[in-house]
Point group: C2
């Protein structure tokens, strides 16, 4: 049931926006009582925080595994880009709620999510720095700006990419990793 | 006064979101009556549409001038990327409202804005195609995906770039045009 609430709320948040979706909209769409909702979540904001935490924690965990795998820095970066694009292809609504609705988190919650997002970006920066140090990547790049550029290419696809359309996630990942690597490899 | 209403509403929409900002919030912040608001805008949604129209019309006009200038395709692309980054540096709040709140436009209005956004992207695609045809850009690129990648790198900066921080718009534009051109030039 908790998963059903999350799934339905993501659908409604995407269509109507977080502010215009009430707990009643969610419970009515699922045909359950408000009591059911409050059994799992103390508020609509707590539900939004759950969505954000789940999304970023899952990404951080998989990113950590990629880094631990000790492939070349090029391989690590490629796998991170693929992971982000496949996720957007598979669960675009989730990604859109994650990116668009963060400002509706409470101050305390937003700080936690921002710190985790920052960690994700810092790890990309570190891959770039290490790749530069051993000559895999161009030395002229500013790692911070390059990390943002890479995340821009991938994250922006949540705005337009529809994996049911004429482009598959695989094609998109192939083009984008090639584009990014040509921009940074020595 | 119309400009004051737009300026204040952008500030409030950015802080609180479009849905959570009422016309009363806007008029109170400006210390004017609701009548003043309705003299210029028939509704809050009409105001949002004005913001969207102004933003995209202005970009389309300047993009057209760049294309008419008949520089090389590399130069045209460079100037478009610079334009987008300088705009985000100069008027970040405007950009954030433009990107985040589009789903609050009415169906009829959203269609108009989407069509204009599409035109902006199509023109970038055309520059890439023409550059490919004369050997300026790599032939292996899919123009549509490459246009989205370029717009991703630049547009994503509205999420994080603060031109008052330690990076100037000029530095960002220089790094990003280099990054993009290395990804696409033959």
């Amino acid at each position: 049931m908790k998963d059903d609430i999350i799934r339905m709320s993501i659908q409604l948040f995407e269509q109507k926006g977080f502010s215009s979706t009430s707990i009643q909209h969610i419970t009515q769409a699922l045909n359950v009582t408000k009591g059911t909702f409050y059994y799992y979540f103390s508020s609509k904001e707590a539900l939004l925080m759950d969505i954000h935490q789940y999304y970023i924690d899952d990404l951080l965990l998989r990113q950590q595994e990629i880094i631990k795998s000790e492939g070349s820095f090029t391989e690590q970066l490629t796998r991170i880009v693929e992971m982000l694009i496949f996720d957007i292809g598979r669960q675009g609504s989730y990604a859109r709620v994650y990116f668009r609705e963060m400002r509706h988190l409470s101050e305390d919650h937003a700080v936690i999510v921002k710190e985790k997002r920052r960690l994700f970006r810092i790890r990309v920066e570190e891959i770039i720095e290490q790749g530069q140090a051993i000559g895999e990547f161009k030395v002229g790049l500013v790692p911070k700006l390059t990390a943002f550029a890479i995340l821009g290419v991938t994250n922006w696809s949540y705005e337009w990419f529809d994996s049911d359309g004429d482009i598959t996630s695989k094609q998109l990942a192939t083009q984008y990793t090639a584009f990014i690597l040509q921009g940074i490899q020595s």
